[in-house]
């Protein structure tokens, strides 16, 4: 069993935690907050985590990250309900000044397109490309079969391609 401390855990798994959080929350700031909370839990349970193998550790981190994200989403939902009275004016995406700039950059369009994907597709894409997980790891962490993961990934690519094409046409 390899000797493991917080620094090694952070070096190996920080990308997994951050992009998992980002895949759920679609916000860099929230992903940073969640990552901080998750690694604080790592420090709290460091003795238990030191005895885990890599797969167990990454699985534990993934579950904790998703749970923290869901807690944050519930909290944000409550806050949005609370703030509804202060934001009565509806704002459409076309009114935002960044909309024209986004249409100019292909990568940026793709990045935004990822965020528009349904949750199960976005989760698969982010975990594979951003967090660096293999298909079998994604299958293990999300509780589905590896074939389902591959199927979701294929559909996600088709969706992103069409979105990219639409973006290029609009741009």
């Amino acid at each position: 069993m390899p000797a493991r401390d917080f620094e090694s855990i952070y070096a190996d798994c920080s990308r997994l935690v951050y992009w998992t959080a980002y895949g759920v929350l679609k916000s860099q700031a929230d992903a940073m907050d969640v990552s901080q909370n998750v690694f604080l839990r790592v420090l709290k349970h460091i003795r238990k985590l030191e005895e885990m193998n890599d797969a167990q550790l990454r699985g534990w981190l993934y579950r904790v990250t998703v749970n923290v994200c869901l807690d944050l989403k519930r909290k944000q939902r409550r806050e949005v309900i609370t703030d509804e009275g202060f934001e009565a004016l509806p704002i459409s995406e076309g009114d935002l000044p960044e909309a024209a700039a986004l249409s100019a950059e292909q990568k940026r369009i793709l990045h935004d397109a990822i965020e528009t994907l349904p949750d199960i597709y976005r989760e698969t894409v982010v975990l594979h490309y951003f967090s660096g997980l293999s298909y079998d790891e994604i299958a293990a962490y999300t509780g589905v079969s590896e074939g389902t993961v591959k199927s979701r990934m294929s559909r996600a690519k088709d969706k992103l391609f069409s979105l990219l094409k639409d973006g290029e046409k609009n741009g």
Partner: protein, 247 residues
Amino acid sequence: MADRMDEILRTVAQEADRGVDYAALHDAILVAHKKKQRTFSSSARMLSYAAVFVVVIGLGALAFSRDLLGATPKSTEMAAPSNEAYGFAAAAEDGAQAPEAPVAMPEEVQRSDNGAGDAVAATEAPMLTAQSITGSGDTFTLDPTAYAAEVLASESAVLMDAGTLSTEPDKSLVGQSLCGGISCNTSYSGTYIEPMEGAPALSKALVADYGNGELHIYWSASKTLHVYATAIGYTAEDAIALLTQLG
């Protein structure tokens, strides 16, 4: 198309990951961890202080309550019969109202001037014999040995010169006397015997007539012998009738 999309996604992901400041995140985690530890340690310290404070307060309250409990018997001891006997005698000489008398007398009071300070002297006293009882023919028996100490105490405290008896009865003193008082007899004059409300039940009584107008009534209540004196004009028969009624 799939290979091209896969390559594009990898490129996008790598560029996005390069934009993440993992070093800042690492520092923020350690700072938050230290802050959390400080908060926890300060909370633990405050809790320990609070626990110590509670324990100290509890011990103080316990010690205070024990002091209070310890002070109560002391105050009771201050009012012990041994000290009151002298007070009763002094008050009686002044003619003042005597308080409720104790049931037992101290050794100093038990010893008389003629040296009759033992049980033999008590049993030899004429007023304690059954033959001295006069009146309606009822016989009251009393075992002198069973009440030797009390008889001795009563004798020493009550025997008096009939000439010192006053003529004005004092109901309150009589009542107290029937309730168990003995020293009050020194200021009581005589023809007045009546039970005080709530007087103790009388189990045995003995009436001794000295023939000089002084009548001594001994009665036992709760194994305590009491002495009562009357002056001329009050017969033993009346006293016995009264005692029978009380008993």
